[in-house]
Subunit: 516 residues, 2 copies
């Protein structure tokens, strides 16, 4: 149910009808101006709500806090009159999705607005001047010397480069707050949404959405729609707004290699005892060459070729690699000679972390007893997650390793000179929506009409969103409409949101709510 | 000054003279029995003093606690009437050595008894059922299911496999407590030392003894002697007592490789952004092959060949590799086909630790911005520490890296596709004393005569003791006389001492104090 009570619809409908007599672009200019007027008058209040939401730690595995997030989000929606439900995982184990619905009279389409309210884990020791779940406002980015100011001191004209620092400030609470503010702005402008809206807020996206498919299947009727809009990921690095029609899939692998049953003194046993840190180095080096080419057999097999339309879109992508290299202080990239835009159309293998023994002030002259690495493999259309994982395991076997999935027993350690525990926390495949569908064109035009610069169309986003089962289950298109800045440090320390992206995001959301 | 006041010397001298009329072995049997009788009557009190000493955290860089250790040690010595001094580092920065002296009438020799009172750092999260500096007594090792018992419940016959768990329980406070107990035992038996004793207790050994050479030079006269006995390292793995005539040297290297200035989302930048974790894997793999052969050019150059005497001693070493592999759950070793005893006569390169990004529950799908590794290189006679370090740096350069010693600036990161920070916390060379010197033979016989099994002679210990400057400065022999069990987890979590080794250690120390 929605904020827009039936009794209010009559005058609103008249407004809407009279507006449709104007040209579409005028209508959108008008929409943009009316949303902006509302936002400019309510910035501090928007911050206030946003900061309260950000203050709740939101790692999916932190059961207590993730439920506090769901409860606060439910209240934010109910405050706006949206009838809201928590969709619990049928397994009984996990965070609920937060669901809400707005019915719009005369709507031709029902669109699901998707975002996620959980975030990545955070290492507080790496955050500068604030804690991961302590939102603060700065006059600019940390790198640009931004200084902390109170919300009350914010003025858009004075601080056009202001940023908010907090875990999930970008990924992915910004879109949720944009939706709430867009609803308020439409209401203040006495405008109604043009489509039926179903909100679906995942609470476990950063944990790989282990329950989402089951939740969708359990509520297949409730979640019927004509398409999903995914509010996740960043806009183009050069600041142009962006639409993506697909995402890469992903599967992760955790690898542990075993040496002696205890750490050994490197003096008494160096040259003699096997060193899992060295073994891991050889193993990881065997997986990918120094140019970035993955050496796992069959790794690039089965990739679905790009269509003409997608090739054209890639060719139209703004050239940005040089700027990005400069920004990141890089003098070379992997797969030299190829552009980022092409490279994300291929599967990838990334070492996310290695840990063995101790370094720095904790270092000791020992031979570590284990070495652990974590890898992620991004997948494109045509890759099956578990087939890719099996290829990785086969590669490890070819390097001479016996593979187990459990902590190995003494007998196993005695039996195999090379022993690796290889497990996955699961994964999901990629999806790609056709760029020529009516919904694809309508979304593009809606966003273009609230934008000053050309909107970039990416056939695939480099990142992953665990939503490939949406087209599988519902047979409807899925389109990504990111709003946050690319340099937001998502998944790292000092995650942040450029405030202007929040303001632009509210206008994007409002335009999409006003789709017909 | 000593505990043995002149007035007491007359009857003691008579005893000593009458004892020398007996055969040496009988004299030593008698010494062993008298020391043992004292120890058996005083075990709980010895534990008490030992536990109080162990309870003080003793990482050299922990300035406050390391001085508390020095103060307590000074009191332990003064309680026994030993005139004690703290020898401060001339640099004014570091932990003092604790020095004490016992003069023995008619002594022909002056011997320095060396041990160190500092210990390795410790990660409390890896210690089982106790904290690193919370000494506890167990009925047996953790692996053998040993259970915690109070000191008061200890009986040697009931718990012959008892162990004490605590950082530095073996490395290297056990020898210090053995020396104190041996002095008490001699006094109770109305026996005097046969040599002048100088105690030298280093407070920074695990930090590489950065100040020791300067302290020795500053107190060259005070520390004059006929030889040093180094109480550090473990006895043979099979439990036989051991003497070593040399130690390996060591030099460490800290290596950091740089990628982008911040961690990057592996989806948006995977396949494109350089990954320092992958680069580090390639670099480390290039240093040492999978059989354990070091590939750094010139690494094995300059090693001083072994003499006939040393070859013979190595050939006599007990065969123990198979047992050790079984104990450590290993099915293969580095440098296959060669025995541990031979391999420690060669320089080694060991990865002590690697850290990049995050693994396990902290893992995130990012490309880490840096990767850090710590390496130690053990050195044998003929290796110069800084020449070996330079060879490692040259190897890194040959792999295409520009090397800096500081945290690199943005311009440097932009300039070099491969950039490594390579530093060392210093190191020191190996030493080796001739096995045929009179002191070498006397030490061997003294220990053999308090031992039931043959004493093993090792030309070199695998571990390192930063004492190569002793023969350089004083021109006197340096001999290692370890007392602790080999499976003591020194430098790792759950360090422990087999209680029987402490009892045997008291007898070894007493025999060495009774050298003529």
């Amino acid at each position: 149910m929605c904020t827009f009570k039936r009794t209010r619809f009559i005058p609103l409908l008249i407004t809407v009808l009279s507006l449709t007599l104007l040209k579409a672009s005028t209508a959108n200019d008008d929409l943009k101006n009316r949303v902006r007027t509302y936002r400019m008058a309510n910035e501090h209040a928007i911050f206030q709500e946003y900061f309260e939401f950000l203050s709740i730690p939101n790692v999916a595995s932190d059961r207590e806090n993730i439920r506090r997030n769901a409860a606060v989000l439910k209240m934010m929606m109910e405050k706006r009159g949206i009838n809201t439900r928590l969709l619990e995982p049928p397994s009984g184990n996990g965070a609920p999705a937060v669901y809400g619905e707005i019915k719009s009279r005369g709507a031709r389409r029902t669109i699901v607005f998707y975002a996620h309210y959980d975030g990545q884990p955070a290492d507080p020791s790496k955050w500068i001047e604030s804690k991961p779940w302590e939102p603060i406002l700065r006059t600019a980015s940390l790198e640009a010397g931004g200084e902390r100011i109170p919300i009350s001191a914010y003025e858009q004209e004075k601080y056009p480069r202001a940023r908010i620092y907090c875990r999930s400030s970008s990924d992915d609470k910004a879109p949720i707050v944009s939706m709430m503010a867009a609803l308020d702005a439409l209401r203040a402008a006495k405008l109604t949404p043009g489509v039926n809206i179903k909100f679906f807020f995942d609470g476990e996206e950063e944990a790989g959405s282990p329950n989402m498919e089951a939740i969708l299947l359990a509520h297949k009727d409730l979640l019927k729609s004509d398409g999903w809009l995914i509010f996740d990921g960043p806009v183009h690095q050069n600041g142009q707004k962006l639409i993506y029609y697909g995402v890469r899939g992903i599967i992760t692998a955790d690898i542990t290699i075993y040496g002696a049953t205890r750490d050994l003194h490197s003096g008494h046993y160096g040259n003699w005892a096997p060193n899992p840190a060295l073994m891991m180095s050889h193993l990881l080096a065997s997986m990918k060459d120094e140019d970035g080419r993955v050496l796992v057999e069959g790794f690039y097999d089965g990739v679905e070729p790009l269509g003409e339309e997608e090739r054209a879109a890639i060719a139209r992508l703004p050239e940005y690699d040089k700027t990005l290299m400069d920004e990141l202080n890089l003098s070379a990239t992997e797969n030299p000679g190829k552009q980022l835009g092409e490279l994300i159309m291929l599967p990838s293998l990334t070492i996310n972390g290695i840990s063995s023994g101790f370094v720095g002030t904790q270092a000791r002259t020992s031979i570590p007893s284990t070495a652990t690495a974590r890898i992620d493999m991004r997948l494109v259309k045509g890759n099956d997650p578990y087939r890719q994982f099996d290829r990785l395991k086969e590669h490890i076997r070819v390097q001479g390793y016996a593979i187990v999935e459990h902590e190995p027993k003494d007998e196993e350690r005695k039996q195999y000179p090379r022993l690796a525990r290889v497990t996955t926390r699961g994964g999901y495949k990629a999806f790609r929506t056709s760029m020529s569908l009516p919904l694809s064109r309508d979304v593009f035009e809606a966003i273009q009409q609230v934008s000053d610069r050309p909107v970039v169309e990416a056939p695939t986003l480099g990142g992953s969103v665990p939503l490939s089962f949406i087209p599988d289950i519902f047979g409807v298109p899925v389109i990504g409409v990111p709003i946050v800045n690319h340099d937001n440090n998502q998944h790292s320390e000092n995650e942040n949101l450029r405030v202007q992206n929040l303001w632009d995001g509210i206008e994007i959301v409002a335009a999409l709510m006003r789709l017909r």
